[in-house]
């Protein structure tokens, strides 16, 4: 019953705040996340240079909760495609799971349709790089090396193999942003990536990259839930301290 209540509250907040954000004229305040500001600049440069943007949405399983970070990646992919649709070199999307690769192709096609450039869509730009942890990394590394990539972005689930992907991007002097929901990968990207994205910021990418009001509403709901959680934890600790529970 409690779970249903929490789910109901979250759904209600998300729907109400999304409607509110859609009607709101001006942009709401967001704290600065340098990775996303620099990514916007790198995307602009890649379009001007005629180089390629590489987006990886990780290797999460379709039936796993880790899939949601890939969904966050797919959420921003459409807006990235719309931004880069005028580029000579279309963005390449890689995934380490077949279902994800198919969703990536569908999202790419939808992005080109929305940008009014259906003819520019190529199915070959949405690729399954390889399966399994190292198969995925081994497939992505040559793409970063051979496809004239100037910016590489990962939003999704990947583990320790993230180090190999970062290294491949560094060797090509490509700007790199790595946002994984895995703690080991976050530690690695903090040490190795030019722009690491830590914690729940993985899910905030859409709001910062202009993916729509629902993404902005999503981070507001996350903030509300976080404060409720903090209040709950402090109350619980205090009650435990005084011996009530």
């Amino acid at each position: 019953m409690m779970e249903l209540l929490i789910l109901g509250l979250c759904s209600f907040l998300l729907l109400v705040i999304t409607i509110f954000k859609r009607r709101q004229k001006k942009q709401s305040y967001k704290r600065v996340i340098p990775a996303f500001d620099n990514l916007k600049r790198a995307i602009g440069l890649s379009v001007e240079d005629g180089t390629r943007l590489h987006v990886s949405i990780g290797r999460a399983d379709l039936l796993d909760s880790k899939m949601m970070s890939a969904m966050a990646g797919l959420g921003i992919l459409r807006s990235l495609v719309e931004r880069t649709s005028v580029s000579d070199k279309p963005p390449i999307v890689t995934a380490g799971d077949s279902a994800l690769a198919m969703l990536a192709q569908d999202t790419l096609q939808a992005g080109y349709e929305d940008a009014g450039a259906e003819d520019l869509y190529r199915a070959s730009t949405g690729r399954l790089s390889g399966m399994g942890q190292f198969g995925y990394a081994a497939g992505v590394m040559p793409i970063i090396r051979d496809e004239n990539v100037s910016a590489s972005l990962l939003i999704g689930h990947s583990g320790v193999e993230t180090a190999l992907l970062i290294d491949a991007a560094e060797r090509e002097n490509a700007f790199n942003v790595f946002a994984s929901d895995d703690l080991a990968a976050q530690a690695i990207s903090y040490a190795a990536a030019q722009e690491p994205v830590l914690g729940e910021d993985v899910f905030a990418a859409g709001a910062y990259l202009g993916a729509g009001a629902s993404h902005e509403a999503s981070i507001t709901v996350q903030d509300i839930l976080r404060w409720l959680l903090i209040a709950g934890l402090i109350t619980g600790a205090a009650l435990k301290f005084v011996g009530v529970i």
Partner: protein
């Protein structure tokens, strides 16, 4: 067509969710999960075709590294043929796994260790901040706490500092990050469930 895709996705999502709360929905939940498994299997099969077609394209265009693509396609078909001729636990496939996949993955793991060491050295060049120094000191302390030396464990570090850092600081930080990720997962899931985000069914036009 797009409306139909949304309708199917949302209703299947809601029925699956209801299965976790209403016992009467459990048979539907199991049925949908078994469908999902079949579809995931089919997607894997299609994914292999995607992989083969991409590498085939690379070979026909004589792109850089197309020699590796020839090797990959030969490996896919020969593994497939071996898989058809024996069971997944049979001698040929076990041999392939033990003689090729396992050593390759171990080699990549070794490359990973070197890459991480190099990254740690490079960290201060990218971010010469106090947090980077704390990060590196933590890494060194944890490594010293784990490393096996000829004279035995490093006193104090392996008996007191490492366990404290790992069980108090690291666990506390990790829980904080995981709670944030869980909230993000929940809200993203709801966005997909209510079709606010639709990574399927084409564009908005």
């Amino acid at each position: 067509m797009r409306a139909l895709a949304v309708l199917i996705a949302v209703s299947v999502g809601l029925v699956t969710l209801a299965g976790y709360f209403l016992p009467v929905q459990v048979p539907f939940l199991n049925l949908i999960l078994s469908w999902a498994l079949i579809m995931a299997g089919t997607a894997t099969f299609i994914g292999v075709f995607n992989l083969i077609s991409m590498h085939g394209l690379k070979i026909t265009r004589r792109e850089k590294g197309s020699g590796y693509s020839v090797f990959l396609i030969l490996a896919v078909f020969s593994t497939f043929a071996l898989g058809l001729s024996s069971s997944p636990t049979g001698v040929p496939l076990t041999f392939l796994f033990n003689a090729i996949i396992l050593p390759t993955q171990t080699s990549l793991m070794a490359v990973l260790a070197i890459t991480l060491l190099y990254s740690a050295i490079r960290l201060l060049r990218y971010r010469p901040t106090m947090m980077s120094i704390v990060f590196l000191i933590s890494v060194i302390v944890i490594l010293l706490g784990y490393v096996t030396l000829p004279f035995g464990d490093v006193p104090i570090i392996s008996t007191w500092i490492r366990p404290w850092v790992m069980q108090v600081l690291a666990v506390g930080g990790a829980r904080g990050l995981l709670l944030g990720i869980a909230l993000g997962t929940l809200v993203t899931g709801l966005r997909v469930l209510f079709a606010v985000d639709r990574p399927y069914g084409g564009g908005n036009k």
